[in-house]
């Protein structure tokens, strides 16, 4: 994930903002993405300043040290538009822990029933998370962003489960390949 471009987007949406506001908005808008650590954010902001994507707009003082507020520069806007215009490369290969676990369950367990029992545990965990997300969606009062995040996560969990089901259906085939 490009923290630079996420912060450029947040700054474009909010207008002039200081660091804490950017972090808070980043975490709120990108629910489901790991919250931004302050250290990482200030390192990224320093790099964005160096590259001319943002500029210092004003210094604010609210009963403590000075806080720097930033604004998007024309160069930063161009960079954001360029980034948005480029397609994300479809993943060539899955690196998820789940992928490794399922394949290992298939090749390292003594029989189909044992493999299935491991994967049933995973399915139950996925489904529990999907129930939580569905409740978030249906409780009422969710913003469009929150709905979009919930939909994104639900569809990915759904895809995991469908892939697991297909893989289980191939179980005999996979076992014969391993044994060969």
């Amino acid at each position: 994930m490009s923290t630079t471009h996420a912060l450029l987007g947040v700054l474009a949406a909010r207008g002039i903002s200081h660091g804490y506001e950017l972090k808070r908005e980043h975490d709120r808008r990108l629910l489901g993405v790991k919250p931004l650590a302050f250290g990482q954010m200030y390192t990224t902001l320093a790099r964005m300043l160096r590259d001319g994507y943002i500029a210092e707009a004003e210094h604010q003082r609210v009963g403590g040290p000075d806080r720097v507020a930033y604004r998007l520069t024309p160069g930063g806007h161009t960079e954001l538009v360029n980034w948005l215009s480029q397609a994300v490369p479809p993943a060539a290969y899955v690196s998820a822990q789940l992928f490794v676990k399922v394949i290992v369950a298939l090749i390292a367990t003594p029989d189909e029933a044992t493999a299935r029992s491991f994967l049933a545990t995973q399915r139950a965990a996925h489904l529990e998370r999907m129930r939580e997300l569905t409740k978030t969606k249906t409780a009422g009062g969710a913003s469009v962003t929150e709905l979009a995040v919930a939909d994104y996560l639900l569809n990915h969990l759904d895809a995991d489960l469908r892939w697991m089901a297909t893989t289980l259906d191939r179980i005999s085939q996979l076992r014969s390949e391993v044994a060969a």
Binding site: L127, M130, R131, T134, L154, N155, D158, R162
Partner: protein, 232 residues
């Protein structure tokens, strides 16, 4: 006191030489929303039909509130389906020649209600489901999602104890399906209706409290945690 609404014990169902349900046992508590999932042909619709008294299993028993459906006459089971059960199918199966409100009044009229009284209740439910302004329209004038909400109103208008839904969103796009499921769950929770929803869609199953996963005519997992902590 037991709060079990439906209990199936060791049921089997044959279609000719094919064994569609093999030794299926399960319990469903009052007010539970349960998803029955599994691949095509795993027996989930057959199970729903056995639990709702549409089909009679060849072996085993199905109890609804301590009454064994398998020993009841077809007429008695039919009466039960009109009064205590609501059924919702993938394609709403609402009558194309009738308006929305006429479709929804049907189960009430079959139960002996006067049309005027039935129409008031039907209109109220259509309003709750956001299709009240379509009351005078025929199914051909509605979208798939609207038709399915009318079908849901018809299934719930008798305030059934149990709603059986067979792939209720299967013919809908994802947002229309979501609206149907949201309304289904909301109304069921409000009235304490027990729901069994058959689906191959995990996102639909995620609306339920529990998943009964089927495979090859058997219950693979009933989503209940036993005293030993095993999910079964």
């Amino acid at each position: 006191m037991s709060d079990v609404v439906i209990e199936a014990k060791n049921i089997e169902k044959w279609y000719g030489p094919t064994l569609a349900l093999k030794d299926v046992s399960l319990v469903v508590d009052r007010g539970e929303i349960v998803a029955v999932t599994g691949p095509s042909g795993c027996g989930k619709s057959t199970l729903l039909h056995c639990l709702s008294g549409i089909l009679r299993p060849d072996q085993g028993s199905v109890h609804f509130q301590q009454r064994d459906l398998t020993v009841q006459s077809e007429a008695a089971r039919s009466r039960l389906r009109r009064t205590a059960f609501g059924v919702l199918f993938q394609f709403g199966q609402i009558v194309p020649e009738l308006t929305a409100v006429e479709n929804v009044t049907l189960p009430l009229q079959l139960g002996g209600s006067r049309y005027r009284d039935a129409a008031v209740r039907a209109q109220r439910l259509l309003d709750r489901l956001g299709v009240g302004d379509l009351a005078g329209k025929r199914p051909g004038e509605m979208s798939g999602g609207q038709q399915q909400r009318v079908a849901l109103a018809r299934a719930l208008v008798t305030e059934p104890e149990v709603l059986f839904a067979d792939e209720p969103t299967g013919a809908l796009d994802s947002l229309a399906g979501e609206q149907v499921m949201v309304e289904l769950v909301r109304l069921a929770r409000e009235h304490g209706t027990t729901v069994l929803v058959v689906t191959h869609n995990v996102q639909v199953a995620a609306y339920a409290d529990r998943e009964i996963a089927m495979r090859d005519g058997r219950v693979e997992s009933a989503g209940r945690v036993t005293v030993t902590g095993e999910v079964r």
